[in-house]
Protein backbone atom coordinates (compact mmCIF):
# COMPACT_ATOMS: atom_id res chain seq x y z
CA UNK A 1 0.00 0.00 0.00
CA UNK A 2 1.61 3.32 -1.05
CA UNK A 3 2.41 5.78 1.72
CA UNK A 4 0.07 8.70 1.12
CA UNK A 5 1.00 10.40 4.34
CA UNK A 6 3.59 12.46 2.49
CA UNK A 7 0.81 14.22 0.61
CA UNK A 8 -0.27 16.27 3.57
CA UNK A 9 -1.78 19.68 3.07
CA UNK A 10 0.66 22.55 2.95
CA UNK A 11 -0.27 23.81 6.42
CA UNK A 12 1.64 20.90 8.03
CA UNK A 13 4.98 22.17 6.74
CA UNK A 14 4.79 25.88 7.43
CA UNK A 15 6.59 25.22 10.70
CA UNK A 16 9.62 24.33 8.58
CA UNK A 17 11.69 27.57 8.35
CA UNK A 18 12.96 26.56 4.92
CA UNK A 19 9.42 26.23 3.62
CA UNK A 20 8.72 29.71 4.99
CA UNK A 21 11.71 31.08 3.07
CA UNK A 22 10.54 29.38 -0.11
CA UNK A 23 7.04 30.84 0.29
CA UNK A 24 8.53 34.29 0.82
CA UNK A 25 10.56 33.84 -2.34
CA UNK A 26 7.34 32.88 -4.10
CA UNK A 27 5.97 36.29 -3.16
CA UNK A 28 8.98 37.97 -4.74
CA UNK A 29 11.59 38.05 -1.98
CA UNK A 30 14.83 37.10 -3.75
CA UNK A 31 16.83 37.47 -0.53
CA UNK A 32 14.87 34.54 0.95
CA UNK A 33 15.94 32.33 -1.93
CA UNK A 34 19.55 33.42 -1.52
CA UNK A 35 19.37 32.55 2.19
CA UNK A 36 18.15 29.05 1.27
CA UNK A 37 20.88 28.70 -1.29
CA UNK A 38 23.64 29.78 1.08
CA UNK A 39 22.41 27.25 3.62
CA UNK A 40 22.15 24.26 1.30
CA UNK A 41 24.65 24.89 -1.51
CA UNK A 42 27.69 23.40 0.31
CA UNK A 43 25.61 20.40 1.44
CA UNK A 44 24.31 19.75 -2.06
CA UNK A 45 27.76 20.22 -3.57
CA UNK A 46 29.34 17.73 -1.19
CA UNK A 47 26.54 15.21 -1.55
CA UNK A 48 27.06 15.18 -5.33
CA UNK A 49 30.84 15.10 -4.99
CA UNK A 50 30.72 12.17 -2.56
CA UNK A 51 28.18 10.49 -4.81
CA UNK A 52 30.92 10.13 -7.41
CA UNK A 53 31.15 13.18 -9.66
CA UNK A 54 34.23 15.34 -10.11
CA UNK A 55 34.43 18.69 -8.40
CA UNK A 56 33.66 20.63 -11.59
CA UNK A 57 30.75 18.39 -12.51
CA UNK A 58 29.46 18.69 -8.94
CA UNK A 59 29.64 22.50 -9.10
CA UNK A 60 27.84 22.61 -12.46
CA UNK A 61 25.14 20.22 -11.30
CA UNK A 62 24.63 22.12 -8.05
CA UNK A 63 24.08 25.32 -10.02
CA UNK A 64 21.57 23.52 -12.28
CA UNK A 65 19.68 22.17 -9.29
CA UNK A 66 19.29 25.57 -7.70
CA UNK A 67 18.20 27.04 -11.02
CA UNK A 68 15.55 24.34 -11.12
CA UNK A 69 14.40 25.18 -7.60
CA UNK A 70 14.37 28.86 -8.56
CA UNK A 71 12.11 28.09 -11.53
CA UNK A 72 9.78 26.12 -9.28
CA UNK A 73 9.08 29.27 -7.25
CA UNK A 74 5.74 30.31 -8.84
CA UNK A 75 4.27 26.80 -8.68
CA UNK A 76 5.77 25.71 -5.35
CA UNK A 77 3.46 23.83 -2.99
CA UNK A 78 4.97 22.62 0.29
CA UNK A 79 4.03 18.96 0.39
CA UNK A 80 7.07 17.89 2.39
CA UNK A 81 9.97 19.43 4.31
CA UNK A 82 12.08 21.56 1.99
CA UNK A 83 15.18 19.49 2.72
CA UNK A 84 13.34 16.33 1.66
CA UNK A 85 12.22 17.91 -1.62
CA UNK A 86 15.69 19.32 -2.25
CA UNK A 87 17.52 16.05 -1.73
CA UNK A 88 14.99 14.14 -3.80
CA UNK A 89 15.96 16.40 -6.70
CA UNK A 90 19.65 16.24 -5.78
CA UNK A 91 19.79 12.49 -5.58
CA UNK A 92 17.86 11.97 -8.84
CA UNK A 93 20.05 14.54 -10.62
CA UNK A 94 23.26 12.95 -9.37
CA UNK A 95 22.04 9.51 -10.35
CA UNK A 96 21.13 10.71 -13.86
CA UNK A 97 24.46 12.48 -14.22
CA UNK A 98 26.34 9.31 -13.37
CA UNK A 99 24.19 7.18 -15.62
CA UNK A 100 24.73 9.64 -18.47
CA UNK A 101 28.44 8.90 -18.22
CA UNK A 102 29.38 12.22 -16.80
CA UNK A 103 31.13 10.43 -13.98
CA UNK A 104 34.88 10.71 -13.84
CA UNK A 105 36.94 9.01 -11.16
CA UNK A 106 38.15 11.64 -8.74
CA UNK A 107 41.86 11.29 -9.03
CA UNK A 108 44.19 11.29 -6.08
CA UNK A 109 46.19 13.90 -7.92
CA UNK A 110 43.27 16.08 -8.92
CA UNK A 111 44.06 19.55 -7.75
CA UNK A 112 42.19 22.77 -7.27
CA UNK A 113 43.42 26.27 -7.77
CA UNK A 114 43.53 28.30 -4.63
CA UNK A 115 43.09 32.08 -4.43
CA UNK A 116 46.80 32.87 -4.67
CA UNK A 117 47.04 30.92 -7.92
CA UNK A 118 49.03 28.04 -6.51
CA UNK A 119 47.82 24.48 -6.73
CA UNK A 120 46.56 22.71 -3.59
CA UNK A 121 45.20 19.27 -2.93
CA UNK A 122 41.49 18.52 -2.73
CA UNK A 123 41.36 17.73 0.95
CA UNK A 124 40.78 20.89 2.99
CA UNK A 125 43.70 21.15 5.37
CA UNK A 126 42.84 22.95 8.54
CA UNK A 127 45.07 20.84 10.79
CA UNK A 128 48.78 21.17 11.39
CA UNK A 129 49.84 17.95 9.69
CA UNK A 130 53.36 17.28 8.55
CA UNK A 131 53.63 16.60 4.81
CA UNK A 132 53.82 12.84 5.46
CA UNK A 133 50.86 12.91 7.81
CA UNK A 134 48.91 15.00 5.32
CA UNK A 135 49.67 12.51 2.57
CA UNK A 136 48.50 9.62 4.73
CA UNK A 137 45.35 11.47 5.71
CA UNK A 138 44.58 12.22 2.07
CA UNK A 139 45.06 8.59 1.13
CA UNK A 140 42.72 7.54 3.90
CA UNK A 141 40.05 10.02 2.87
CA UNK A 142 40.33 9.02 -0.80
CA UNK A 143 40.01 5.38 0.19
CA UNK A 144 36.88 6.15 2.21
CA UNK A 145 35.46 8.09 -0.72
CA UNK A 146 36.15 5.15 -3.05
CA UNK A 147 34.44 2.74 -0.64
CA UNK A 148 31.36 4.97 -0.48
CA UNK A 149 31.27 5.10 -4.29
CA UNK A 150 31.44 1.31 -4.46
CA UNK A 151 28.18 0.98 -2.54
CA UNK A 152 25.07 0.26 -4.63
CA UNK A 153 23.30 3.53 -5.49
CA UNK A 154 20.39 3.16 -3.08
CA UNK A 155 22.69 2.27 -0.19
CA UNK A 156 25.04 5.13 -1.12
CA UNK A 157 22.17 7.62 -1.14
CA UNK A 158 20.87 6.36 2.21
CA UNK A 159 24.34 6.59 3.79
CA UNK A 160 25.01 10.10 2.48
CA UNK A 161 21.62 11.41 3.54
CA UNK A 162 21.78 9.77 6.96
CA UNK A 163 25.41 10.47 7.82
CA UNK A 164 25.88 13.97 6.42
CA UNK A 165 22.37 15.44 6.27
CA UNK A 166 21.11 13.64 9.39
CA UNK A 167 17.78 12.95 7.75
CA UNK A 168 15.42 10.50 9.42
CA UNK A 169 14.59 7.16 7.83
CA UNK A 170 11.12 8.47 6.99
CA UNK A 171 12.56 11.53 5.23
CA UNK A 172 15.13 9.43 3.39
CA UNK A 173 12.33 7.10 2.35
CA UNK A 174 10.44 10.03 0.81
CA UNK A 175 13.53 11.06 -1.14
CA UNK A 176 14.24 7.54 -2.33
CA UNK A 177 10.57 6.69 -2.85
CA UNK A 178 10.60 3.75 -0.49
CA UNK A 179 9.42 2.93 3.02
CA UNK A 180 11.28 3.79 6.23
CA UNK A 181 11.66 0.06 6.85
CA UNK A 182 13.38 -0.33 3.46
CA UNK A 183 15.73 2.53 4.36
CA UNK A 184 16.67 0.79 7.62
CA UNK A 185 17.44 -2.33 5.67
CA UNK A 186 19.57 -0.33 3.19
CA UNK A 187 21.48 1.29 6.05
CA UNK A 188 22.05 -2.04 7.77
CA UNK A 189 23.52 -3.59 4.65
CA UNK A 190 25.57 -0.48 3.86
CA UNK A 191 27.02 -0.31 7.37
CA UNK A 192 27.94 -3.98 7.26
CA UNK A 193 29.79 -3.38 3.97
CA UNK A 194 31.52 -0.32 5.41
CA UNK A 195 32.47 -2.27 8.53
CA UNK A 196 34.19 -4.97 6.49
CA UNK A 197 35.91 -2.64 4.02
CA UNK A 198 37.08 -0.08 6.56
CA UNK A 199 38.25 -2.66 9.07
CA UNK A 200 41.85 -2.54 7.90
CA UNK A 201 42.16 1.22 7.68
CA UNK A 202 43.84 2.61 10.78
Amino acid sequence: MPDFSIFRNSADYTSDPDVVLMLEFQKGNAASFEALMRKYYPKVLNFIYRYGLTRQAAEDLTQEIFLKIHQMGPGYRPKAKFQTLLFTIVRNSALNAIRNERKYAASLDEEIESEDGSMAQQQADDKNYSPLEQMLENEKSDRIMAIINELPENQRSAVLLRRYEEMSCEEIGQSLNCSAKAVKSLLNRAKETLRVKLMDIK
Binding site: E34, M37, R38, Y41, P42, L45, N46, Y49, R50, R55, A58, E59, T62, Q63, F66, L67, H70, Q71, A106, I112, E115, Q122, Q123, A124, E137, K140, S141, D142, I144, M145, I148, V159, R162, R163, Y164, C169, K184, L187, N188, K191, E192, L194, R195, K197, L198, M199, I201
Partner: protein, 162 residues
Protein backbone atom coordinates in the same frame (compact mmCIF):
# COMPACT_ATOMS: atom_id res chain seq x y z
CA UNK B 1 18.77 -13.31 21.88
CA UNK B 2 20.45 -14.86 18.83
CA UNK B 3 23.42 -13.35 17.04
CA UNK B 4 21.46 -13.21 13.76
CA UNK B 5 18.78 -11.03 15.31
CA UNK B 6 21.40 -8.77 16.89
CA UNK B 7 23.19 -8.28 13.57
CA UNK B 8 19.90 -7.43 11.82
CA UNK B 9 19.33 -4.62 14.31
CA UNK B 10 22.87 -3.37 14.86
CA UNK B 11 22.48 -0.34 12.58
CA UNK B 12 19.30 0.81 14.30
CA UNK B 13 20.89 0.07 17.70
CA UNK B 14 23.83 2.35 16.86
CA UNK B 15 21.39 5.06 15.75
CA UNK B 16 19.38 4.70 18.98
CA UNK B 17 16.26 3.92 17.00
CA UNK B 18 15.17 0.73 18.75
CA UNK B 19 12.49 0.52 21.39
CA UNK B 20 14.01 0.37 24.91
CA UNK B 21 13.22 -3.32 25.43
CA UNK B 22 14.95 -4.47 22.25
CA UNK B 23 17.84 -2.11 22.82
CA UNK B 24 18.34 -3.49 26.30
CA UNK B 25 18.26 -7.07 24.99
CA UNK B 26 20.93 -6.27 22.41
CA UNK B 27 23.06 -4.53 24.99
CA UNK B 28 22.90 -7.60 27.20
CA UNK B 29 23.85 -9.85 24.29
CA UNK B 30 26.82 -7.64 23.36
CA UNK B 31 28.06 -8.00 26.92
CA UNK B 32 28.24 -11.77 26.57
CA UNK B 33 29.09 -12.36 22.89
CA UNK B 34 32.64 -11.37 21.84
CA UNK B 35 31.84 -11.79 18.12
CA UNK B 36 28.84 -9.46 18.14
CA UNK B 37 30.66 -7.07 20.46
CA UNK B 38 33.55 -6.82 17.98
CA UNK B 39 31.17 -6.28 15.05
CA UNK B 40 29.37 -3.56 16.95
CA UNK B 41 32.68 -1.81 17.68
CA UNK B 42 33.83 -2.11 14.07
CA UNK B 43 30.53 -0.85 12.68
CA UNK B 44 30.52 2.11 15.02
CA UNK B 45 34.11 2.94 14.07
CA UNK B 46 33.40 2.63 10.33
CA UNK B 47 30.44 4.97 10.66
CA UNK B 48 32.57 7.54 12.48
CA UNK B 49 35.30 7.24 9.85
CA UNK B 50 32.94 8.68 7.27
CA UNK B 51 33.82 12.04 8.83
CA UNK B 52 37.11 11.69 6.99
CA UNK B 53 35.48 11.63 3.55
CA UNK B 54 36.59 14.65 1.50
CA UNK B 55 34.67 17.86 1.93
CA UNK B 56 35.00 20.58 -0.69
CA UNK B 57 34.23 24.26 -0.47
CA UNK B 58 32.08 25.94 -3.12
CA UNK B 59 33.85 28.32 -5.47
CA UNK B 60 33.88 31.85 -3.97
CA UNK B 61 31.68 33.33 -6.69
CA UNK B 62 28.94 30.67 -6.68
CA UNK B 63 26.23 33.12 -5.61
CA UNK B 64 26.98 35.72 -8.28
CA UNK B 65 27.33 33.02 -10.93
CA UNK B 66 23.92 31.66 -9.95
CA UNK B 67 22.16 35.02 -10.19
CA UNK B 68 23.76 35.71 -13.58
CA UNK B 69 22.46 32.37 -14.89
CA UNK B 70 19.04 32.94 -13.32
CA UNK B 71 18.64 36.32 -14.99
CA UNK B 72 19.75 34.89 -18.36
CA UNK B 73 17.25 32.09 -17.93
CA UNK B 74 14.45 34.55 -17.20
CA UNK B 75 15.38 36.65 -20.25
CA UNK B 76 15.41 33.57 -22.44
CA UNK B 77 12.03 32.48 -21.07
CA UNK B 78 10.52 35.92 -21.58
CA UNK B 79 11.86 36.07 -25.14
CA UNK B 80 10.36 32.69 -26.01
CA UNK B 81 7.06 33.67 -24.43
CA UNK B 82 7.10 36.93 -26.38
CA UNK B 83 7.75 35.14 -29.66
CA UNK B 84 4.93 32.71 -29.00
CA UNK B 85 2.51 35.53 -28.26
CA UNK B 86 3.58 37.36 -31.42
CA UNK B 87 3.14 34.24 -33.50
CA UNK B 88 -0.31 33.65 -32.15
CA UNK B 89 -1.23 37.27 -32.70
CA UNK B 90 -0.35 37.23 -36.43
CA UNK B 91 -3.73 37.28 -38.23
CA UNK B 92 -2.27 36.40 -41.61
CA UNK B 93 -1.18 33.05 -40.26
CA UNK B 94 -4.78 31.94 -39.71
CA UNK B 95 -5.59 31.07 -43.38
CA UNK B 96 -2.22 29.32 -43.74
CA UNK B 97 -2.90 27.22 -40.69
CA UNK B 98 -6.40 26.48 -41.98
CA UNK B 99 -5.10 25.34 -45.38
CA UNK B 100 -2.41 23.19 -43.79
CA UNK B 101 -5.01 21.57 -41.53
CA UNK B 102 -7.29 20.80 -44.49
CA UNK B 103 -4.38 19.29 -46.41
CA UNK B 104 -3.57 17.15 -43.45
CA UNK B 105 -7.17 15.92 -43.19
CA UNK B 106 -7.46 15.18 -46.91
CA UNK B 107 -4.10 13.48 -46.98
CA UNK B 108 -5.02 11.35 -44.00
CA UNK B 109 -8.31 10.36 -45.63
CA UNK B 110 -6.48 9.33 -48.81
CA UNK B 111 -4.01 7.24 -46.87
CA UNK B 112 -6.81 5.49 -44.99
CA UNK B 113 -8.60 4.71 -48.25
CA UNK B 114 -5.40 3.35 -49.73
CA UNK B 115 -4.91 1.09 -46.73
CA UNK B 116 -8.50 -0.18 -47.01
CA UNK B 117 -8.04 -0.91 -50.74
CA UNK B 118 -4.89 -2.86 -50.05
CA UNK B 119 -6.67 -4.88 -47.39
CA UNK B 120 -9.47 -5.75 -49.84
CA UNK B 121 -7.00 -6.70 -52.58
CA UNK B 122 -5.15 -9.00 -50.23
CA UNK B 123 -8.43 -10.91 -49.69
CA UNK B 124 -8.85 -11.71 -53.45
CA UNK B 125 -8.05 -15.34 -54.34
CA UNK B 126 -5.83 -16.31 -57.31
CA UNK B 127 -8.79 -17.90 -59.12
CA UNK B 128 -10.66 -14.63 -58.84
CA UNK B 129 -7.65 -12.83 -60.28
CA UNK B 130 -7.52 -15.20 -63.22
CA UNK B 131 -11.24 -14.70 -63.71
CA UNK B 132 -10.82 -10.93 -63.72
CA UNK B 133 -7.84 -11.12 -66.06
CA UNK B 134 -9.94 -13.14 -68.47
CA UNK B 135 -13.04 -11.08 -68.11
CA UNK B 136 -14.07 -11.53 -71.71
CA UNK B 137 -13.96 -15.27 -71.25
CA UNK B 138 -15.90 -14.95 -68.04
CA UNK B 139 -18.66 -13.16 -69.87
CA UNK B 140 -19.03 -16.21 -72.14
CA UNK B 141 -18.65 -18.71 -69.33
CA UNK B 142 -21.77 -20.68 -70.19
CA UNK B 143 -20.65 -21.13 -73.81
CA UNK B 144 -17.17 -22.22 -72.69
CA UNK B 145 -18.69 -24.72 -70.26
CA UNK B 146 -20.77 -26.27 -73.06
CA UNK B 147 -17.73 -26.48 -75.32
CA UNK B 148 -15.82 -28.26 -72.55
CA UNK B 149 -18.65 -30.79 -72.25
CA UNK B 150 -18.61 -31.44 -76.00
CA UNK B 151 -14.83 -31.86 -75.94
CA UNK B 152 -15.04 -34.35 -73.10
CA UNK B 153 -17.76 -36.30 -74.88
CA UNK B 154 -15.67 -36.42 -78.02
CA UNK B 155 -12.59 -37.72 -76.22
CA UNK B 156 -14.69 -40.42 -74.48
CA UNK B 157 -16.02 -41.58 -77.88
CA UNK B 158 -12.55 -41.86 -79.34
CA UNK B 159 -11.33 -43.92 -76.41
CA UNK B 160 -14.23 -46.30 -76.70
CA UNK B 161 -13.65 -46.93 -80.43
CA UNK B 162 -9.95 -47.74 -79.72
Amino acid sequence: MECREVKENLSAYLDHELDPQLSKAIQTHLGTCPGCFMENQQMSRAWQMLDLAPEIEPSPDYVSRFWTKASLQESRYERLLGRWKNLWGERRLIPIVTVLSLMLIIGSTGIIQQINMQNKLSQIKPDDVEMLQNFDLAQHFETIKDLDVIRDLDSDQKESTI
